[in-house]
């Protein structure tokens, strides 16, 4: 007897969880299938969330009404602010997470969610009725039927683990691979490829000599990912840093004859930004050491993650390599390092809604579309879940522009340019980086969250109040006058600032480098108001970098016409006079949603975009 739902989400990793929450919160009876109930939202790699580009994605997810930020805040054991001395746009929060607590917290939230059902089963086949998805078939033959399916199966599809020359099928060390589903997707006409990623050994903290290692503490004064999170101060757990050395590198070189990476066993493409230690040693042979960060896996475990020595070398080489490192001479490996190869689906087969162009109702998200990272996965899962729900509710899809969010940048990159290595977010990918800050995520995105119903009326009220306080303060600062009184000039001189030449507003004074909010108010002889760190940062940034922000906003405005010009799904590029064959083929493959997207397809000249624009107008004129 088939079970019927509104939405089925396959995989309960970081993508799948967000997709399931979005579906259920937007009113769908949602089924979440997982291979292992105890491994929900597992951090397969390092026990950390955030960092450059990634914290921006978490902020985006949170502002839309996603889950990751609150769980990450609640289960953090260390908070660190990266780039604190740089501008707001590139400051990033990173937390060390308690991996086990994260799993429990996410599972608890899933279990408390209305309309959300969790089931341990493996989807073996995607069911389709012609070009429309119908559901999935489980490993025991059960049919789960739904008009929309979000596939979020991570590294599990035909996962193959390598440790030295040994290899075995697995989705992650200790978990079954997902078999059958790749073949079923290929049968539906999707193009699949193979990627690779790797992970380092985990060590027993009781066997590490921390006394000889550099200690890295968290920051006491830090923001949170989510606006909802209670601002509690917790006792933080430190990380430690050690280094590889000449002996380590010699051990690695001696083991290369049993490297699956260099022996040709591994065919998948790995990420350049996260190379294995053997690759680092070979490619940067002039470097006599590489950093190794020892990150605690939780408060109630002795397990440590050795960040920086990801490898697929055999276990005995791993052992010798670890023992050659200062502080790790006696270290016990709790879990060995390994590389995993897995199937992915080329993302240029997706619409910006993450729905397959060729199979209605089938949405793909997370690592299976060629990304890497928990935050990237969560953002994609959220968008897939939202669009599945909008489609079922018969509402227009949510496509976030590049000018409003990192999520928009990522999805546009994926579906327009495709991938040739696992895609990770960097802030340099965002052309409007100064506008896309964590501190203004609610301003950028909470309107969407409200409209689609992921943020409740009560949430909206709180968010509006939070944004309103910032607006009010900006208005107040522009009203407050500071006159060049002897007292004010003396205060400025004491701060190493040039004197005033006339009366100015507190806002104008804040434009000066080196003047902080409190100082400006002291000079205006007014009391400062209490703000959360992200709100204060927003006030100072909006004032200090106004000219730069304006320039980016103008650049955005110039592209709006093209970004908003939709190209219909059934548009026939063969009818566009003057298009080169090469351009036409690329356009037919990507089928861009807007003229703006068409212009970003590699190799499409701007004149081709003009030709399409004219053809669209012709179409409109002729009905």
């Amino acid at each position: 007897m088939a079970q019927r739902y509104d939405l089925i989400v396959v995989g309960a990793g970081h993508a799948g969880c967000e997709a399931a929450f979005a579906g259920a919160r937007m009113g769908l009876r949602t089924l979440l299938l997982t291979l292992h109930l105890d491994h929900i939202a597992q951090m397969s790699c390092n026990p950390a969330i955030g960092g450059l580009g990634k914290s921006h994605l978490v902020a985006d997810v949170d502002a839309l009404g996603g889950q990751m930020g609150t769980v990450a805040d609640a289960t953090a054991i260390q908070f660190r602010v990266l780039n604190r001395k740089k501008g707001a746009a590139v400051q990033a929060l990173r937390v060390q997470s308690d991996r086990a607590e994260y799993i429990l917290a996410m599972r608890r939230a899933l279990e408390q969610q209305d309309r959300l059902f969790i089931c341990q089963d493996m989807a073996r086949e995607v069911l389709a009725d012609g070009r429309t998805v119908a559901g999935v078939r489980g490993q025991w033959g059960d049919e789960y039927l739904a008009p929309a399916v979000v596939l979020a199966s991570g590294t599990f599809m035909n996962g193959l683990i390598h440790v030295g020359l040994l290899s075995f099928p697995a989705g992650r060390a200790g978990d079954f691979p997902a078999t059958g589903i790749s073949e079923s997707l290929a049968a539906l006409g999707l193009r699949l490829g193979r990627l690779k990623t790797g992970t380092p050994p985990r060590l027993d903290g009781r066997t590490i000599d921390f006394s000889r290692l550099e200690r890295q503490d968290g920051d006491e004064d830090h923001p949170y990912f989510s606006w909802r999170s209670p601002r509690l101060r917790i006792e933080q757990v430190p990380c430690h840093v050690t280094y590889t050395n000449a002996q380590t590198h010699a051990v690695i070189r001696a083991g290369l004859d049993r490297s699956p990476l260099y022996g040709g066993q591994i065919k998948g493409v790995g990420p350049r930004y996260c190379p294995s230690i053997e690759t680092k040693v070979l490619r940067f042979s002039d470097r006599d050491r590489h950093q190794v960060f020892l990150e605690p896996e939780g408060r109630r475990t002795v397990e440590y993650y050795a960040n920086g020595i990801s490898t697929s070398l055999p276990a005995d080489v791993q052992q010798a390599m670890v023992h050659s490192i200062e502080g790790l001479e006696e270290a016990q490996i709790i879990r060995p390092a390994y590389a995993v190869e897995y199937d992915f689906i080329f993302p240029d087969q997706l619409r910006p809604t993450l729905e397959c162009k060729e199979i209605n109702g089938l949405f793909l998200s997370g690592q299976i579309i060629g990304t890497s990272g928990y935050e990237e996965a969560a953002a994609l899962g959220l968008v897939a879940g939202i669009n599945a729900a909008l489609q079922i509710r018969g509402e227009p899809p949510l496509v976030l522009p590049r000018s409003e969010s990192y999520i928009g940048v990522m999805i546009d990159d994926l579906v327009t340019k495709g991938v040739d290595e696992p895609y990770r977010m960097f802030t340099s990918r965002a052309e409007y980086r100064l506008l896309l800050r964590c501190d203004n995520a609610l301003r950028r995105l909470s309107g969407y969250g409200k409209r689609i119903g992921l943020l409740s009326a009560q949430d909206a009220e709180q968010i509006d109040a939070k944004l309103g306080r910032v607006d009010d303060e900006l208005a107040r600062l522009s009203r407050l006058r500071i006159s060049p009184s002897p007292a004010a000039q003396a205060q400025l001189a004491a701060m190493g600032q040039a004197p005033l030449t006339g009366a100015i507003s507190a806002l104008e004074l804040l434009r000066r480098p080196g003047i902080a909010y409190c100082q400006a108010l002291a000079l205006a002889q007014e009391a400062p108001r209490e703000f959360l760190p992200e709100d204060l940062l927003q006030i100072e940034t909006e004032i200090r970098y106004e000219g730069y922000l304006k320039r980016e906003a103008e650049m955005v405005a110039r592209t709006q016409k093209l970004e908003q010009a939709l190209i219909p799904d059934n548009f026939d590029y063969a009818l566009v006079a003057g298009l080169s064959t090469e351009s036409r083929q690329r356009l037919e493959q990507v089928r861009p949603r807007t003229l703006g997207q068409a212009g970003r397809i590699p190799g499409i000249p701007s004149a081709a975009v003009t030709l399409i624009m004219i053809a669209l107008k012709r179409r409109a004129n002729h009905g």
Binding site: L52, G53, L82, N83, K85, K86, G87, A89, V90, R272, Y273, C274, P275, I277, K280, R283, F284, R287, R289, H290, Q291, F293, N307, G308, K417, F426, T427, S428, R429, E431, R433, L434, P513, Y545, Y548, R551, E552, A557, R558, Q560, K561, A577, G578, L579, S580, P602, P605, S606, A607, A608, T610, L611, M613, I614, A615, K617, R618, N621
Partner: protein, 463 residues
């Protein structure tokens, strides 16, 4: 809401117009830009331009207020202009140098140089042109844009191309250094952000660009394209040949009303190279002083030309005037056009002398359209050969390139300023992004992936 368009400008002179040249400004700021540059004959600022009325006056530099030329001003308010936007036309005495200066003043006053075909695109989008016409124009742009990019690099052959390539590489490296410091703050291999150090290397880039601009500007200020002068005495058929030639190359757009004054159509595109046809006809129509001035002007145009098409009437014996013109020409830059082949030939090319034997020649009848394909091929070969053998910078760093370099320089200097003022690296990176996209007008766009490629190959990234 649709944001307002920016204001564009370009030289919009139809080919072969002889003494008259037009600079067209179109967009919301057209009138205010014009009023910044317009003066009365006796040098007072013009306060207004009456709509649809020709107004005589001066055009002056936007910075120094020095007069550039005596001109006619014509203000066409929207929607009654070619583009359907507020438009101002400056009708000047022509001559590419003075037109170039006028255009430069307009750009300095806030307009942007129009893209090829942009007036037409706007005309179309504002409903001022029918679809068939717009498609034809767009098709032409598309067909030439690929070749143009190829040839653009061709043009920059030799030292100049290398310098531009080095410049781009230097900018990408500076950007990569900024981006690495931003995105990988925990990597041991990435040095902590050092604004002052980076400002030093950016200073070098800035000096390089300034030198490039200075060199280019001194060689040939603001002149675009291969200058091809049509020469010959009266009544040899210059005008009909010119019309034939233009009709041949621009068959698609030539018959479309209103399109002939757009920037792309005002010159020939041969192999993607812009060929500006300068017709010396009409300069000698009057007697006396005017004629002398005309002859002098022809001589100057011929001297400055990259190519001269000398038209000879083969049905009539060579005249003294023909011989005089022949004697004054540089054979390396000349193409002989023997016209009126429909009539019996009265002389053989051998009579020109041995030294002319190797000069490319074509026998045509402009009147009956005979031999025009052959002539077209001869011109094409000469144009390409000229582009290939030209000294760096001598042939063309065209106006578009020069403006791109100036914008690049401004952005690079802002970036340096940001670093010296201890602004954070993402602010400097934003200026650097503007620099790269300005240079992209010459070299093509720089994608974030190219910057990441440099980061991953220069630094060991691996946390």
């Amino acid at each position: 809401m649709i944001p307002p368009e920016d204001t564009i400008a370009a030289i919009a002179t139809p080919p072969g117009a002889g003494g008259i040249g037009i600079v067209r400004i179109s967009g919301p700021s057209a009138l205010s830009i014009a009023l910044r540059l317009a003066q009365t004959q006796d040098g007072h600022p013009l306060r207004e331009l009456p709509p649809r009325r020709v107004r005589r006056g001066l055009v002056c530099g936007s910075e120094d207020g020095q007069p550039i030329d005596q001109v006619l001003w014509l203000y066409l308010p929207l929607p009654g202009s070619y583009t359907g936007e507020d438009t101002v036309e400056i009708q000047a005495h022509g001559g590419p140098v003075s037109l170039g200066e006028i255009l430069a003043a307009v750009l300095a006053a806030g307009a942007r140089l129009a893209e090829p075909g942009e007036f037409t695109k706007r005309a179309f989008l504002n409903g001022r042109m029918d679809l068939t016409a717009a498609e034809a124009v767009a098709g032409l742009i598309n067909a030439t844009s690929q070749a143009a990019r190829r040839i653009a690099l061709h043009q920059l052959r030799g030292g100049l191309a290398d310098r531009i390539a080095n410049l781009r590489a230097a900018l990408i490296h500076a950007k990569a250094e900024l981006e690495a410091a931003i995105d990988f703050p925990e990597e041991e291999d990435v040095a902590p952000f050092d604004g002052a150090g980076l400002a030093l290397s950016i200073q070098e880039i800035s000096t390089d660009i300034s030198a490039l601009i200075a060199g280019a500007a001194s060689r040939r200020p603001l002149v675009e394209g291969v200058r091809c002068v049509i020469a010959g005495r009266s009544n040899v058929g210059k005008s009909s040949l010119l019309n034939r030639l233009l009709g041949l190359e621009r068959a698609i757009v030539h018959h479309l009303p209103g399109t002939t004054r757009d920037t792309i159509e005002d010159s020939l595109q041969l192999e993607g190279i812009l060929v500006r046809i300068i017709d010396t006809a009409g300069l000698r129509s009057e007697a006396g002083e005017v004629e002398l001035a005309g002859i002098e002007r022809t001589r100057a145009e011929v001297a400055a030309a990259d190519l001269v098409l000398l038209i000879l009437d083969q049905s009539q014996p060579l005249t003294v005037e023909d011989r005089t013109i022949l004697a004054g020409l540089d054979r390396q830059r000349t193409i002989l056009v023997l016209n009126k082949s429909d009539l019996a030939a009265s002389w053989n090319p051998a009579v020109l002398g041995l030294e002319w034997a190797a000069v490319p020649a074509a026998v045509v009848s402009a009147k009956y359209n005979i031999g025009m394909d052959g002539l077209s091929a001869v011109i094409r070969n000469a144009v390409v050969a000229r582009a290939e053998t030209a000294e760096p910078a001598a042939l063309m760093i065209n106006m578009r390139h020069l403006i791109a370099l100036q914008r690049t320089l401004e952005a690079v200097n802002r970036c340096r300023g940001a670093l010296l003022n201890a602004l954070p690296p993402e602010i400097a990176a934003s200026d650097m992004q503007v620099a790269l996209s300005s240079l992209g007008e010459i070299t093509g766009e720089t994608t974030p992936d190219e910057v990441l490629d440099v980061i991953f190959s220069s630094f060991c990234i691996g946390k």
